[in-house]
Symmetry: C2
Subunit: 232 residues, 2 copies
DNA sequence: CAGCGAATTTGAACGCGTTCAAGAAGGAGT
DNA sequence: ACTCCTTCTTGAACGCGTTCAAATTCGCTG
């Protein structure tokens, strides 16, 4: 969306093969240490030392420690998309597709649960470019919303005509809710989150079906109006 | 809930009048500076200097900079309760009571919107005692839930018998959602948040009314079952 | 191959939140 | 008045994320 705005070399965008290599080295090292020690316990000095570069060099490629996380976002999104593919190929039932995609998302995140919980605070800051709602995250966000559009499009579900165009974004919002719950989930293996998905999906399925019901038309419209009002 | 567990003087609980005075002085200074400069821009050194004490003294009363925020929570909750009183006295309609209480909450928070947005990240961290879901916050949280119980009890609304006992907590959750939106709200005077409240309240009112409808009974039950499952 | 300029790399230095050993203040008992 | 003990207060010191002027590397041009 904003690819054209910055003709100059942006921070973090290496111009040479050497730079690209260093960048990847730092990134891989950081991800490994984050997983091993957690986010807060991993210092920039440690990342630099393990990667065999100077501290300042890491800052040449990543504006801050937090920016390393944005990379984590992007990677996770790509992995999520890949992990969801089999389900999208196999299933045609809306509920099954949705459940599969949600579970795939959690599958991908599970190895990072420890450090995800601690970096979550950074992502939650509204002013931070790391917020999933921020302009800087719009690319991965749109990719995620597109994934839910696929969930819907490839399904046999009958959806209220007015609701349909808004539904992918609503499903993405629900997914954000699942992640929020997951981050707080202390149950072994985050089993509760799995229960949440398995419990919420039939519910969503049912509500989507009911949206075409005469009694609920006004409610559906009211919801959609509100959403439209609140979007910028 | 945990008053009896710690017979020794907990950090931050002054035992003498002198201590209490110093504590209040530091707290007032901190709140003033937070509002004037924002959270991140207010250093502990600045707080100490303005309050005329040593840095370490602030840490004698408040375990960390973040802990100063927990005090802000407690103060806000008390203010919210007070600001909601007139509405609770005046109105008997459920929707009016709910809207009034939600608006009162935002009224109280409005002067702190600037720094609230920046400290929100801290509150969002699951492992932090500052999280609204944490055990340490259970007292203010329960007080807030009780407020929504009052909203319901004092109203003429007819509510599904199964839903009723769960509803106050659900309303509190909705309030958390409103605050989440408010924190991200960049519109002048956070006007959007007001629209959200005015739009969402009739919707909630309607849904609560519909919960007694035969068609929706299964859905209602499904929702409540899910919630019960997910609560610890 | 010498020289140039952009891209990359360095590490000392800064300001921050936080810690802690040491001391000061205050009150109770003798 | 002296002692003892708890409570409170101090400020230097530590490790962290981050900055930046200077040095280095590297591909290219004449």
């Amino acid at each position: 969306m904003t690819e054209q705005t910055a003709p100059t070399t942006a921070a973090g965008e290496p111009a040479t093969a050497r730079g690209e290599q260093t960048r990847q080295l730092i990134l891989d090292t950081a991800m490994r240490l984050f997983r091993e020690r957690g986010y807060a316990q991993t210092t920039m000095r440690a990342i630099a030392q393990e990667a065999g570069v100077a501290v300042g060099n890491a800052y040449y490629y990543f504006g801050s420690k937090d920016h390393l996380i944005q990379e984590f976002y992007a990677r996770s999104q790509v992995e999520h998309r890949a992990a969801a593919q089999p389900v999208l190929d196999r299933e045609s039932d809306f509920a099954a597709r949705l459940a599969g995609v949600l579970h795939a998302g959690i599958d991908v995140l599970t190895p990072s649960h420890g450090f995800a919980a601690s970096f979550f605070k950074t992502a939650a800051e509204p002013t931070s470019p790391l917020s999933p709602f921020s302009a800087e995250s719009s690319a991965p966000r749109q990719a995620a919303i597109d994934l839910f559009a696929e969930v819907l499009d490839g399904s046999t579900a009958k959806v209220d005509a007015e609701l349909r165009p808004q539904l992918p974004e609503l499903l993405w919002l629900a997914y954000m809710g699942v992640i929020l719950y997951w981050v707080y989930d202390r149950s072994p293996g985050q089993a509760r989150t799995r229960q949440l998905i398995d419990g919420a999906v039939p519910l969503i399925d049912r509500l989507v079906g009911l949206s075409r019901l005469r009694v609920l038309r006004p409610v559906t419209r009211q919801v959609l109006d509100l959403i439209r009002t609140l979007r910028h």
